[in-house]
């Protein structure tokens, strides 16, 4: 069976994905009229964080993929347009950060409307998607393919990109991420920059040694994000470290999706199909997990 291969001379590819997640995130916990105080870390990401990130990326001539909700894009049209004009990819994160499974039969309309909003603001339609909280419904992949999306990046189940065929004839690339290379779990657990730096270097070294995809995810936010001055310096140093290693190519998610779809890989079937019968008779136990004492 044909498997994913990097182009000649490439040992591994790195993409830098950015979760815009401004007010959309704070609004999970409060209302529009209360976006201040503890609910203003999202606004920090736009006011203080984004200019800093843009400057760093420009200095590195590095194009990032920025996943934005339609609601955040509407609130920050000029910033999203500036990102697109600076050569960064604007990708969809849906309408807001409500988990897709909660939208039920409204999911398709919601994703389609978000698609139109982002296309209008960014000046071109998004080709990629990453779900809020990584939560997909059983129909999301087919819906995305139907809307013309070239990739989803919500799974965490492989070392390399692969291809889904959610319905007969439909093909959409999957660009899987890894939790260890996401800043939010570490910073939201109040870990230090030194700890994040150590984790990321060790994870990167091993992925590079084995020629795996290096999917980086950072947030703009002031709480769990990477745009504070000290934190962006850590990210900057890490990107320099990666760039210094042999065979590392930086790509946007859209470029990686095209690289993947051009390889004529077999399309994996709808990932829900095999589990539907069991799920239909299994009660929800999602709240069941070990908690520290």
């Amino acid at each position: 069976m044909k498997t994913f291969a990097w182009p000649q001379g490439v040992r591994c590819a790195v993409f830098l994905s950015v979760h815009f997640d401004a007010e959309s995130y704070d609004l999970k916990s409060t209302t529009e009229d209360r976006l201040f105080g503890r609910f203003s870390y999202g606004r920090y990401g736009v006011r203080a964080g984004l200019p800093r990130l843009l400057a760093m990326l420009q200095r590195r001539t590095l194009a990032a993929t920025v996943f934005v909700t339609a609601d955040d894009a509407r609130r920050h049209e000029a910033e999203v347009r500036a990102l697109a004009e600076a050569g960064h990819e604007i990708a969809s994160r849906g309408a807001d950060l409500r988990p897709l499974p909660e939208l039920r039969e409204g999911e398709r309309a919601s994703l389609a409307a978000a698609h139109e909003t982002l296309a209008t603001i960014a000046g071109r339609p998004p080709v990629g998607f990453r779900a809020a909280g990584g939560e997909l419904s059983s129909g999301t992949l087919a819906t995305l393919a139907g809307l013309g999306y070239r990739y989803d990046s919500s799974f965490q189940d492989a070392d390399h990109p692969y291809v889904f065929a959610p319905t007969p004839g439909a093909r959409i690339a999957e660009l899987p991420t890894v939790q260890a290379l996401d800043d939010a779990p570490l910073y939201s657990a109040r870990h230090t920059m030194a700890r994040l730096d150590k984790v990321w270097r060790e994870e990167f070294d091993a992925l590079h040694a084995e020629g795996c995809l290096v999917p980086m995810t950072v947030h703009l936010r002031g709480d769990m994000g990477s745009t504070r001055a000290a934190r962006i310096a850590v990210l900057d140093d890490l990107l320099a470290y990666m760039a210094s290693k042999p065979g590392v190519r930086f790509v946007t998610c859209a470029q990686l999706a095209e690289m993947t779809l051009a390889q004529d890989l077999p399309g994996e079937p709808d990932p829900c199909a095999a589990h539907q019968a069991t799920l239909a008779v299994t009660p929800y136990r999602g709240d069941l997990s070990i908690k520290p004492i």
Partner: protein, 277 residues
Amino acid sequence: MSAARTLLPKDMRCAVTLGVDFDGPSHEVGRGIAPIGTHSWGRYSARCGVPRHMDMLGKHGVPCTFFVPGYDAECHPETIQAIHANGFEVAAHGYLHEAWDLKAQEETELLHRTDHILRELTGEPVLGWRSPSGRKTPNTMHVLKSLGYIYDSSDKDYDLPYRLRFGPGPQDSIVELPNNTYSLDDFPFFKFSHTPPSEVLAQWKAEFDAIYASDRFLVLTVHPRSGWGSGTPARTAVLDQMIGYIKQHEGVQFFSSAGFAQWCLDHPQHLEEVSIP
């Protein structure tokens, strides 16, 4: 014949058993969650984690036991057959990774179902079980014994193997290989404390040093999934380096869990017998 306290013979300087708890999509499906998006970590086990672990273990030439939920074996039969064909032990680990309490009849049915699935795939009897999440009932050991299992590896109450007596009959005992899921396991570090891989290695080395100097029995567990597991390159490298470190120590013997349980059965005079409850 039994010992007042388990004491491994002098020439067995330290016994080591390695376990890989498969934990594929069963972990999410059993909780009623489709294994997609952020819930897809279990799909990594068969695709990447298990092959990577087998490669690494094969290079070391050490035995290992893969504890497999029955549902995951149904989802990935070829992976289970590859584990067996590569000479590693396949043992039972629940059906849907039941990390919740079961009624006696349901538990019996599920233990039988998983046993049947694994037996069909490997063509050999299953010899051991590890509870998903460590839950057991007064019924569990009776069912395992009736299925011909020789060991359980779920209890947390000791540092050494022992003979667990669960009834008065001559057949009412089983070898217990106790484990510790707070330190000699990967998920506490990768799920809760986001510990850098190199520090997990240091932690496990410190555990081994203390064990090597005292009880001389190590049960180490990892998971081949993504997320909080060790299937990914940096974390598989931790286990790789850990095995290399253990091998540098004189007199260490690696066993599969079944292999070590059989040794215990063959040397009853070395094992303490404990009646529980």
